[in-house]
Structures are given as C-alpha cells and as structure tokens.
C-alpha cells in the first residue's frame, strides 16, 4: 500500500512542482504587485500601497480610459463569438449532408485554424494596406467603391481586427458543431419527417437543443479565448494603432507592462480581467445548467 502511495507521489510531484513554480508563484506575485507600486525605476525597492492601483484604474480619467476599453472588449468578444458560432453552426449543417467532396471542403474550411496566429495577423495586416492591400484592391476594382483607410482610422481599424479574428475562429466552432451533429440519431429526423415537420421546425426542435450541451462549453471556452486574444489585436493593429484606439483589455495590459513599464498598474489590470472571466464562466455555466434542467 505504501509503495502505491510513493508511486502516486512520483507521478504527480514533478507536475505539481512545475505548476507551483510557474503558475502559483507568479499568480501570488501578481497579486502582491497589484497592491504595490512597482515600475521600471522602482523594480527593487517597491512597497505595498494597498488599493491605490485599483482606485486609479476605476476613477482616474486616462487616455484611453478603463471603461472605454472594457466596452470595446465586450463588443470585440460578443461580435467574434457571435459570428464564430453562427458561421460555424451554419457550415456544419451544410457539411452534415451527403455531399460529394465533403471531406475536401471540411479540410479547406479548417485551414484558418491551422495557420499559426501570428502569420495570420501579419498577413491580414498586409491585406488591409491602403494602397497595395488586396482588400482595398477588390473593393475599388471589382466593387467600384472608394478605398477604405483600414489601419489609420479608429473604427475601421477595430473592424479590421474583428474581421481577421472572425476568419480565424469559425473553424473551431464548425468542427465542434459537426461532431455534435453527427451524434444525433437519425431516427429523430425520420420520425419528424413522418409527422410532416418543416426544416425550420426540425432545426428548432431537434438539432439546436441536441447540439446545445456540446456548444455551451465550447462557447464558454470561445469567450475566454477571445476576451484574452492578445495576438491578433496586437499584431494586426501594431500595438493599438491608431493612437491606442484599438485596444482590448489584455492588449492594453501588455502595453502598460512592456511599453510603459508600469508593472503594478498592469498587474492590477490583469487581476481585474481574471475576475471578470471567472465571474462570467461561473455565471454562464450555472445558468446554462439551470435551463438545461428545464428541458
């Protein structure tokens, strides 16, 4: 019995040691930092100052302010996840028929997910170029519309990062939805056909409720990933251009930490992001479980 205990300890100890060193310790250090006043000039003689950083973030007007960036983060997350799910489920429904060349299409449609994110971001940034970017070339030459200043005006730049991320994220939802669709028993649709159900009735009464249990965790994960997606925002907008108008919370923290070196401020913001996501996940999972029971 005791040799079994040693075995379990030997299995788990290395991972716990690593996690303690690279997850727990940084997390606790981050909490201390958030209540401190560390920056580049005070990296060795910083001290705890209580809630000063949080008060500063929530009350002091800064450029850009916390609430504006938070609002942008919510819009960014909602828009992305909405389009990911709608496009993903829609394509999954189409792919779930008996079509020829189905697996070839499936492979092509996964491509955006397969490419390293930083290459996606840098390539799209090139495609959004005003004069030579292919998007403006298509807009002006084939659609006959005026060219758009994608990367230089705040709204268009924000739109550009959303478009890039929608492109990148729909395959994940498509694949998850496709897996869920394939596990729905055929008899249900046959029974519905016998009862003379229309396609939208089948969709509402059979398909959507049955893929729901799989989609809910995927959507939760999608929200968390999108909310924290630093890569695309940072690289497409080149660090928040034009003039810090395209930040979401996490990219703003990255800037505060590594461009302004206001470490404690960044640590406090990180902590705020974490608690927002934790609250969201608990609430969303609980709520979806509650409605599930009602079915």
């Amino acid at each position: 019995m005791s040799s079994r205990k040693w075995f379990v300890a030997a299995l788990i100890a290395p991972a716990i040691l690593v996690m303690a060193f690279v997850v727990f310790y940084p997390f606790i250090y981050n909490v201390f930092l958030a209540f401190g006043n560390m920056n580049l000039s005070r990296i060795r003689d910083w001290e705890l100052v209580g809630f000063r950083q949080f008060v500063k973030i929530f009350t002091e007007p800064s450029q850009p302010g916390f609430y504006v960036i938070f609002l942008k983060t919510v819009i960014w997350t909602a828009a992305n996840v909405f389009f990911h799910v709608v496009i993903g489920v829609f394509l999954a429904l189409i792919l779930n028929q008996h079509l020829q060349g189905r697996s070839a299409f499936r492979t092509l449609l996964i491509l955006p997910w397969a490419i390293p994110q930083y290459i996606v971001a840098l390539t799209w940034r090139g495609m959004f170029n005003y004069e030579y970017g292919s998007i403006n070339l298509i807009i002006t030459k084939y659609l006959g519309l005026p060219a758009v200043e994608w990367l230089k005006s705040p709204t268009e730049a924000f739109l550009a990062i959303i478009m890039t991320n929608v492109w990148l994220g729909f395959p994940f939802m498509m694949v998850i939805a496709l897996g869920a669709l394939q596990s729905i028993p055929h008899e249900l649709y046959e029974a519905a056909d016998i009862d003379g159900a229309k396609w939208h009735q089948k969709l509402r009464a059979i398909t959507l409720p049955l893929i729901r249990p799989v989609m809910i965790p995927a959507i939760t994960l999608g929200v968390i990933w999108t909310f924290n997606n630093l890569n695309i925002v940072w690289l497409v907008s080149n660090g928040g251009e034009p003039s810090d108008n395209t930040h979401i919370l996490v990219s703003f923290v990255y800037k505060a930490a590594f461009n302004f070196y206001s470490f404690s401020n960044a640590a406090a913001l990180s902590l705020i992001i974490f608690f927002i996501l934790l609250a969201f996940s608990l609430f969303f999972m609980k709520k979806s479980r509650a409605t599930e029971a009602a079915y």
């Binding site: 040799s3 997390f27 250090y29 079509l99 397969a114 030579y132």
Partner: protein
C-alpha cells in the same frame, strides 16, 4: 409531388455547394496571398494588380531568404525551444494526467479546478511576474527562461487531455496486469502508456505548436537577435521602415506548411481531446 421534391433537393445541393465554395475561397484567400507575394520579383512587390500567379514569377525571394538572412538560425532556435517544450510537456502531462485519472489523493479536485482556472488567466498575468522573476534571476535572453514560460502555458491543457484519455481506458486492464505480477510502474509504462498513444501525440503537437508559433512572450524575453525564434524573425521583415514583403511571404510559407499539414492530419484527434477535456469537466 415527386418532381417538385427532386427539384428542391437539387436546389438545396446547389445552394450548399455555392456556400461551401464561397467560404472555401475566403479560407484560402490569405494563403494564396502569401504564395503570390513570395513569388513576385523585387520590382513588383508593391503591385496593384490582382493576378492569380504573378507574371514573371520567380524564386528569388526564397534564395535571398535562405542565403542572405539568418533564417536557418531562427529555425534552429525555434526547433530547439519547441523540442524542449514538447519533451517536458509530454513527460509531465502523461504522468500527472495518469495520477489524476486513476488515483485518489488530497487536493485532487482542487488541482483539477486550478488547471481549468488557469485557462482564464490573461497572458499578462503570468508573463509579467515571470518576466520580473527572469530579470531578477538574470534569465532574460536565455532559452531556459522561455522554455519554462511555454511549458507553463501548455501544461494545463495537456494534463486535461491526458486525464480525459486515460479515463476512457478501462481500469480492468490494470487489475489484470497486477494479477500477472506487474508493479504499478510497469503497468503504467508497458500497458497504459502505449494505449494512450493518440493522446500523447496530441499533447506533443499542442506543446510543439505553442512554442513554434508564439510571438509576444518571445518578443519580451529574447531581445538578443542571435537568439531570435522564427516569429521574431518574420516580424522583423515587417518592422523595418519598408516591409520586405517578398521575404516575409517566402518565410511564412516555409514555416507554415509543415505545421498546417500536421494540424490537418491530426485535427480529428485534437478535437476529441478538446471535447473530452471540456465536457467531462
């Protein structure tokens, strides 16, 4: 009735194919862009003509990339870091995942919940403290520092995947092995681990990709250009005053193709790992 039915089915197929075709084109478009740019001769990089394959296409950019730039150095650095992360990820996740799947111990539930919670950490929350830590330990501009950070990022997902997969292997196998006189370690090593090969592949792929395709952490930790990884090198083509699009395209394509092929081949497993990890939670 029958005729009308046939017609609606035909129409439905037509619309289905049209939609799939549109989205397939949208999916391929940026890749075609990369190929196209990488083949352009130097004087046509800033062309405003949309051609499928540029006229007088040339491999000049590839030759320049491989002979004049440090591409092989970056690739070597990236390979070294990625392999280190992969080995440590697989070793730690395969053992810890097994313990989480099969044994009861104090703090097990807390451990699993913590692993899930780390997914909600914004990247900066671990990066900033570790960055300061690495400054204090003088590990900035060292591979040890970055391998530690990458392993930490990949480990929670890997442990969950391994645990989820071990859960699907019936425990009767271990009972049989122990009746045959196998020690717990031999049972794990000789019986269970080989059966978990698909999950090991996912863990390895995920760890490798985490390190191979990461830019933002590397940008802070590896400041010395001799230590640069591929993402830092590729970004440097864009960072200078005028973007060297031709070199960027050629480099992107070379970096991308193996990863994309691997991903497509293994995507089925990757997805089953993801759903196992998330649904069983």
């Amino acid at each position: 009735m029958a005729v009308q039915n046939k017609r609606t089915i035909f129409l439905q197929r037509l619309v289905s194919y049209a939609v799939l075709l549109v989205f397939a084109v949208i999916s391929i478009f940026p890749i075609w862009q990369i190929v196209n740019i990488s083949l352009r001769p130097g004087n046509q990089l800033l062309s405003t003509v949309l051609e499928f394959i540029p006229s007088n296409a040339t491999l000049e950019n590839y030759v320049r990339l491989l002979s004049e730039r440090d591409f092989f150095v970056w690739m070597g650095n990236s390979a070294l870091i990625s392999i280190a992360v992969t080995l440590s990820g697989v070793a730690l996740a395969s053992t810890a995942g097994y313990a989480f799947s099969r044994y009861q111990f104090i703090g097990k539930k807390f451990g699993l919940l913590t692993l899930l919670t780390t997914q909600m950490f914004p990247a900066t929350m671990l990066l900033l403290p570790m960055y300061i830590m690495l400054i204090n330990l003088e590990l900035i501009n060292s591979y040890i520092g970055i391998v530690i950070v990458y392993s930490a990022t990949a480990l929670p997902f890997c442990i969950w995947t391994m645990k989820g997969y071990y859960d699907t292997i019936p425990p009767t196998l271990e009972e049989a092995a122990s009746i045959d006189g196998c020690s717990p370690f031999m049972t794990f090593y000789k019986v269970i681990l080989p059966l978990a090969a698909p999950a090991l592949v996912i863990t390895a792929l995920f760890s490798f990709m985490t390190a191979w395709s990461e830019y933002l952490v590397a940008a802070q930790i590896l400041q010395d250009s001799e230590l640069w990884t591929l993402p830092l090198g590729l970004k440097s083509f864009e960072a200078s005053m005028s973007t060297e699009w031709g070199l960027y395209g050629a480099a992107s394509l070379i970096v991308m193709v193996p990863v994309v092929v691997l991903f497509l081949l293994l995507s089925r497993y990757l997805i089953s790992g993801l759903t196992l990890g998330s649904v069983k939670g």
